[in-house]
């Protein structure tokens, strides 16, 4: 049994205050939901259950942001990609580094003072099966416990006061190609986590563990028979048809036993609607990469699924990309808002899919309300048929065995990957970091690894039109499909967004520029060059009544896999090196937490 190493700890008065202020609230979601409405803290990775990454704090404004400066910084102790964000609970900041997944509790009272550090002892095999750098997307919090996923599949419950391990369970096994990179979601007394590793034929699933004991409550798979999916054939709704899915709807969409290696991994951001008592997440690409080898729709890869957090049972499912041939994982976040459609207010979820379409679904039923391209270069499909929910394909852009296809947009990295968008309830627009990258796909290239020939797909990625814009940060209305403004960037915008009541949106670039942008005009009002490229997500909070903005800088992830792994060949790292070939001219590896404030 690996023993945790807790470096240093102190009793935190903040936690005590917190529990006094909110005595004996039974379920984590009640407490968390309330806590997340206090904009002085940041208690859920995505800011709130709705995943809006919006803060009501307004001390830092478009007028004064020019005076923003570094308040304090600290090294995360890890070189690789940081795709997460800190949490702020009371007067303590918590965050997790990329592998080896250090978890820190840092004092806000004595900024940068490490109250405790947790270093999980990990299966050394894990990094070798992580597809796209050994990233991590952050910790979750509930009821005095920090929940942290380690790359090797262990979920740790750490006492927020001292970092002691209250329990741990293994939800993924690197020996089976499974790893963990995502931030858990805690609802009621359930910790919900997914799994990574579709590249290795993992049979994707989502797991609910008891938040107090760690005991597994349920596990629901993405592909297979109804009982494994936790689908009720008569009650679970197919969002596209608005009818029950029927018996074994996933099995019918696969040839033979192929669903067992069906992929559909679940490594993105999860959201939750307390009123409907449903959580929402997306599933990734189907197993075996070669689409010719897996005829059928490959359900329910590439889908959004709504489930009950306590039972795991599925309420509805909507598949975005049937029979994927491009690696357009459907794992991106579903942001919960109200939308006005034809004069009516509807509870919706908005999902900027890798496939380049912004889906708006009625989150009660999964009914498709809108699906507009959010990048004009998207060409694999002409549009989404609103009657069937299916993409109307451009046949020339389908990847096929023995057929080379040039100029597919977007690339496998999608018009947007995991980098989470934010929402502003005032402008009612979404602020979306995107990839403006296309690809040439050569389905079957004979290749060689030292001593052994094999057949592999060759993917070359490059900025759209072979130009010099690899990323666009956009303000977007998913109902009208209008882009209000855009900022063009040299590389993919692989970091998340934060909107604030100060009329600002914050985000970081792959080259390491951290920016504050006027939410109305898209004008960059302030910027700061951080030590490394940014693929993390900004947050904001107050301490002693003063507003701070924090970001993790530390390049890596799929966007910068070449830099992260020191690779130079354009076809390494699932083709991602080509798209970012000169990133090394701009930045370097290394995780740093940066906190900013006004004078």
């Amino acid at each position: 049994m690996p023993s945790p190493s807790v470096c240093r700890w102190r009793h935190l008065s903040a936690i005590a205050c917190l529990s006094l202020a909110l005595p004996c609230i039974a379920s984590a979601d009640d407490q968390l939901d309330k806590l997340s409405q206090d904009h002085n803290q940041w208690v859920i990775p995505a800011g709130n259950y709705a995943g809006q990454r919006y803060s009501g704090l307004n001390q830092i404004t478009a007028d004064n942001v020019k005076n923003l400066h570094v308040a304090w910084t600290m090294s995360t102790g890890s070189l690789r990609g940081h795709e997460g964000q800190p949490l702020i609970i009371g007067d303590t900041m918590y965050f997790e580094s990329s592998f080896p997944n250090y978890v820190y509790a840092v004092s806000l009272k004595e900024p940068g003072r490490i109250l405790w550090k947790f270093a999980p002892q990990q299966d050394k095999f894990a990094p070798s099966v992580a597809c796209c750098d050994v990233v991590n997307r952050g910790v979750a919090y509930a009821n005095g416990i920090i929940y942290a996923n380690a790359l090797d599949g262990f979920l740790y419950a750490l006492d927020a006061k001292n970092g002691n391990v209250k329990w741990k369970v293994q939800n993924a096994d690197p020996k089976l190609g499974q790893t963990q990179t995502m931030a858990p979601l805690v609802v009621k007394n359930v910790v919900i986590t997914g799994v990574s590793g579709a590249e290795y034929g993992v049979h994707g699933y989502v797991t609910g563990n008891d938040a107090t004991s760690g005991k597994q409550l349920w596990r629901a798979y993405s592909t297979g028979p109804d009982d494994q999916l936790m689908f009720d054939p008569d009650k679970t709704i197919d969002g596209a048809t608005q009818k029950p899915v029927g018996k074994n709807s996933s099995l019918a969409s696969w040839q033979g036993d192929q669903w067992k290696l069906g992929g559909g991994t679940t490594w993105g951001w999860y959201t939750y609607d307390p009123k409907l008592d449903l959580f929402y997440y997306g599933t990734g690409n189907p197993g075996t990469w070669n689409p010719t080898q897996r005829p059928g729709d490959n359900k329910y890869s590439m889908s959004i699924i709504a489930r009950s957090p306590e039972t795991g049972k599925a309420k509805w499912v909507f598949q975005m990309t049937p029979h994927d041939g491009w690696d357009f994982d459907g794992v991106n976040e579903s942001i919960l808002t109200d939308s006005t459609i034809d004069g009516k207010t509807v509870p919706t979820l908005t999902h900027f899919d890798r496939n380049g379409f912004a889906y708006v679904l009625d989150r009660r039923t999964g009914k498709l309300l809108s699906a507009k391209k959010y990048d004009a270069v998207v060409n694999w499909a002409d549009h989404i048929d609103m009657a069937t929910g299916r993409p109307v394909l451009n046949d020339a852009m389908m990847t096929k065995e023995n057929v080379n296809v040039k100029g597919i947009c977007p690339s496998s990295q999608g018009s947007k990957d995991q980098q989470p968008a934010s929402y502003d309830p005032n402008t009612k627009l979404f602020y979306v970091p995107t990839n403006h990258v296309c690809m040439d796909y050569q389905a079957f290239n004979v290749k060689y690894k030292a001593g052994f020939p094999f057949v592999g797909a060759l993917v070359n990625m490059y900025p759209a039109d072979h130009g010099d814009v690899g990323g666009r940060f956009i303000a977007f209305d998913p109902i009208s499909g209008q882009t209000k403004w855009e900022i063009k960037d040299r590389f993919q915008d692989w970091g998340g967004a934060l909107t604030t009541a100060g009329g600002l949106v914050f985000y970081g670039t792959l080259t390491g520029e951290f920016r504050a942008v006027d939410i109305n005009s898209g004008k960059v009002l302030w910027h700061f060059k951080t030590p490394s490229g940014i693929i993390g997500n900004p947050i904001t909070y107050t301490y002693n009544g003063k507003q701070y903005v924090a970001i993790l800088s530390g390049v890596g992830g799929w966007a910068a896999i070449g830099l992260a792994e020191n690779l130079t060949k354009a076809t390494e790292g699932l083709g991602a090196v080509g798209a970012t070939a000169t990133l090394a001219d701009y930045t370097n590896l290394g995780g740093t937490l940066l906190v900013f404030a006004l004078d």
Binding site: L176, G201, Q255, D257, Q258, K260, L261, G287, T288, N290, T292, Q293, P295, E401, Q442, N445, V446, K447, Y448, K449, A450, G451, F452, P453, F454, V455, L458, E565, N566, L567, T568, K569, T571, E572
Partner: protein, 280 residues
């Protein structure tokens, strides 16, 4: 078995003896090779790639110069090519599947295939990946090869044992045979040229070649025509090597047989590697 002509052995003898003779021409053939990765190559010149390089250099009247580097270091073969071939440190590698588009390949100079390796005494009935016997056996395979895809396709990969010789510096492909010998696995499915040279140390083992198949609906490729490779723009050297391959095919085949490599088509006595391409 086809017997190779005497001229092949003669060519080999010349190649081994003839390195000094090449100086006169003033040409140098700079070959990238691994200093410690038998049966492919080593610094002592014992690998089949060494022998092939010697044959080729001799035929070109060139001095053979090795540029040594570890093929299994960080980033694997792709980075090895980047560091050595693409950078211009060396001009040719001896092994690349024909038609690879990352570099420029020559005409193929041999075709071999992935094979089942098991103890003769076990008498398994193995013809292809769909043979029922295979489902009952402990299988070993090299990861990231067509064998892994084939096992995945049949839902057999999780019960099988993955080997990672190609990415583990210092690990000999001999370990794959040893695993069969020890009973760690019942059958190893691996690239024949990786283990051919060691088979004489394991007389109790036998091999059966895997046929290319469309049994599952899509093509599965287990045999590969193998070429040398040069930089993408180096057509002059590629053309020169093609000439050598054409003229020295018999000598090259002899060298490969000498090193235990089973050449696809050996059993039916059929034609040259180029001809074999038509069947793939």
């Amino acid at each position: 078995m086809r017997t190779f002509p005497a001229s092949a052995l003669f060519g080999l003898a010349l190649a081994l003896a003839g390195i000094t003779g090449a100086h006169a021409a003033g040409k140098t053939l700079k070959v990238c090779a691994d200093p410690d990765y038998l049966p492919y190559s080593n610094r002592a010149g014992e690998g089949f790639e060494n022998a092939v390089a010697e044959t080729v250099a001799k035929a070109m009247g060139a001095r053979l110069e090795y540029v040594w580097d570890n093929q299994r270091a960080h980033g694997g073969y792709a980075e090895y090519l980047s560091r050595n071939l693409d950078s211009g440190k060396c001009d040719v590698v001896m092994s690349m599947p024909y038609g690879n588009e990352e570099e420029l390949t020559t005409d193929p100079y041999y075709v071999s295939s992935y094979v089942f390796v098991f103890k003769k005494a076990r008498n398994y009935s193995l013809e292809n990946m769909n043979s029922p016997d295979l489902r009952k056996l402990k299988i070993g395979f090299e990861s990231d090869t067509p064998v892994e895809s084939g096992l995945q396709l049949r839902g057999m990969v999780q019960a099988a044992t993955a080997f990672d010789v190609a990415e583990t510096p210092g690990k000999s492909p001999r370990s794959m045979l040893q695993a069969v010998e020890d009973g760690t696995v019942d059958v190893m499915i691996t690239w024949q040229p990786a283990i051919g040279a060691f088979l004489h140390d394991y007389p109790d083992l036998t091999t059966i070649a895997l046929p290319n198949t469309r049994a599952t609906g899509s093509p599965e490729m287990y045999s590969f025509p193998m070429s040398m490779a040069v930089r993408k723009n180096d057509e002059a050297l590629r053309n020169a090597l093609n000439q050598v391959i054409k003229q020295q095919q018999a000598a090259l085949t002899g060298v490969l047989h000498q090193h235990g490599i089973q050449i696809f088509g050996d059993n039916d006595g059929s034609a040259s590697p180029s001809h074999q391409m038509a069947n793939l």
